[in-house]
């Protein structure tokens, strides 16, 4: 008998609850939630790669590509519809991921990490030199149209919020299903021992490639969502410390479940903005301490807390935990 998928149910219920928030939550929280979802999408992309044993220090590359796709869709391609822009960003992520993946999938471990960092920094360099694209200052994203209509700012924000909820929930659900699929389990196997996977008849290279492309699309969507919400894109999106932030969140939340990425992003943003407010001179100290504590005592991230709440959950063995 198929086990009831709690996670999928949780994702759907969570999405619905979040969506109703548009009626009751104050504007600054709505904006923060969209940012959290946008970052969570990139964190999900990091998690996808981590489950396959690859740590990417350059997801910022696709985050940036997605953001710039949205920003340039209007001026270069005359595309102003919000949903078309999101689609454009996903396409940009897909194409660049497909091309770069061919090269990247030959590398593992630290070399994959450094190569991904190098690619992201190269994009940063190219964008910084480009005066036409605003150099390091970036440029502003003009208000998108919605299904052909030019709406008022408040209404656009509502649409962005709802889109974010749906997008977040949708991608989370999809990736969750992916994790539980044959390919998903094969990825985990590949991270542990590629040779054994080959003996089982699967192709590790294809597994890695698939994960890589999937991750690039997810990250681009995150960047696109951020661009729509934030209203501004810049090369900083590709800087390595931004990618480091995503990895940080992935490990704070935990890689055991897609929902963990959302929780991790939420906790991170909340901690950071309040640390900034209460201790403007020591917020990095607070953030660093939180990271060290979580990593030391909760190696599988905050998700361990959630899982321990579920009654009767048997303790998973080390193999079933991705790290």
């Amino acid at each position: 008998m198929r086990q009831f998928d709690f996670s999928l149910a949780a994702i759907m219920i969570g999405t619905a609850m979040l969506a109703t928030g548009v009626f009751v939550l104050p504007a600054w929280i709505l904006s923060m939630v969209v940012t959290i979802i946008a970052k969570a999408l990139v964190v999900i992309s990091v998690v996808i790669l981590m489950r396959a044993g690859l740590v990417s220090f350059g997801q910022g590359l696709y985050y940036c590509i997605g953001g710039y796709a949205v920003g340039l869709g209007g001026p270069w391609l005359n595309v102003t519809d919000m949903f078309a822009l999101l689609g454009l960003a996903a396409l940009a992520g897909l194409v660049s991921g497909a091309v770069l993946g061919v090269l990247m999938c030959r590398y593992r471990e630290i070399f994959f990490a450094m190569f991904s960092l190098a690619l992201a920094m190269i994009l940063y360099g190219v964008l910084s030199q480009s005066q036409a694209l605003g150099s390091t200052d970036g440029f502003n994203v003009s208000r998108p149209t919605v299904l052909g209509m030019m709406l008022a700012t408040g209404q656009v924000r509502t649409v962005i919020y709802l889109t974010a909820c749906l997008l977040g929930g949708g991608v989370a659900a999809l990736i969750h299903v992916f994790f539980k699929s044959e390919m998903g389990y094969a990825s985990q196997a590949a991270s542990e021992n590629e040779i054994r996977l080959q003996y089982l008849g699967a192709s590790p290279n294809r597994v890695f490639y698939g994960n890589y492309v999937l991750a690039s699309v997810a990250a681009s969507l995150g960047g696109a969502l951020l661009a729509l919400n934030y209203g501004h894109v810049g090369p900083d999106m590709a800087y390595w410390t931004q990618s480091g932030e995503f990895i940080f969140i992935a490990l704070v939340g935990g890689t055991g479940n897609v929902i963990a990425a959302l929780i991790g992003a939420g906790v991170f943003e909340a901690v950071r903005t309040y640390a900034l407010e209460w201790a403007p001179d020591a917020w990095q100290l607070i953030l660093g301490t939180v990271l060290v504590l979580i990593v030391s005592f909760m190696p599988n991230g905050l998700w361990t807390l959630v899982r321990s709440l579920r009654p009767g959950t048997r303790r998973r063995t080390a193999i079933e935990n991705t790290l």
Partner: protein
Amino acid sequence: MKTKAKPFSLTMLSLLTATAFLAAPTAAGAQEPLKIALVSFYSGPVSGPVGIPSRNGADLIIEAINAGTLPAPYSGAGVGGRQIESIYVDEAVDPVSEYRNAVQRQGVDAVVGYASSGSCLGVAPVAEELQTLTLLYYCGSVRTFEEGPKEYVFRTMNTQDVENIGAARYVLDTMKDVKSISGINQNYGWGQESWRDFSKSLQQLKPDITIKTELFPKFLSGQYGAEVTALSRNKADIIHSSFWGGDLDAFILQASPRNLLKNQTAVLTTGGTALQSLAKHIPDGTIIGVRGSGGVLAPKSDFNDWFRSEYEKKYGEVVTFPAYYMAQAVLALKAAGDIAAQKSGNSPSVDDIRTALRGISFETPAGTVAMDRHNGHQASTEIAYGTFKLQDGKPTLENVKRYAPECVIAPEGTNSLDWIEAGFPGAVCN
């Protein structure tokens, strides 16, 4: 739309209270304090040279405003009677999101800040959307207003093109037969645009000038050995640099013992900050700027003397020019608030202050600031440059020249780059 919903009864009450006070020209008693956010870099490499001095300068002025101890021509405590309450927001993290948080979560009435052009660019549309009075105090990019007019955004300092046009003019005034120039600027918007404006201006004014070397080292690289070699090998008359902070210091420290700055004359548009600490390493003849007319090039005035001595008393160190510029943004609020209070006879609302700000002209320790560009939203001040000379072991600037706004600032309605490329039509210089 501001999302703070005010119930009807509260609105009636405030209306009644306001009318009750109409009779009294000077509103006495309890007034709502003016809550402002002071935003700059309070962490990271920009905090030392820019962020903290800025905050110090602003704090000093706010204290004086609240106590009513500002020297002439200011009088009265508070902004039109309203005391200033300030919170600090670190620009280093997500400036646009934190702007929203400051306005919507912490409920500030106005925002003073932003040292980075990227932040200014990102924050301006949000300021318009949230209809919050925002004074940009330090970022240099011309794009803020040139990419569209603003209702709620003001900038109380010159844009960076002005500094570089001024530098070009000073170079020609002091070195009439300059033939070649090189540039070393940080590889980001600020550096790239500074070089662009300087080199284009100079070439407009003297078309036979050649460019020898254009270097754009990575921002915060700190290691300029190879760059100094490259500049030394291709000798030019002038080396332009918009380096600031740690990079400026490192460049001076590394170039000086290799005689680069002695053999070629450097134009350091933001050199003012290095004067005190690195005086012995700067050769005579180096051209120094302060991004305006603050800091060491501030015109002599009682206000300036007061500011300098108060700053040194309170913080134990000599004031540098970033402090001047955040101070002058706060002074803009004070000037506008006082004018609004005088006109209406009671405590000014943020909107009154905003309306009064347009086109205002006010006094600062760095001289007079006139908000007379971009429909009264952009300040124009004079720009000063001086030549360095070590006299009795003390750093001094001689041959100081001040360029009036009509000489170095594009006239109303013209983009600065267009103005430069057209050869400065309508410029009035002496």
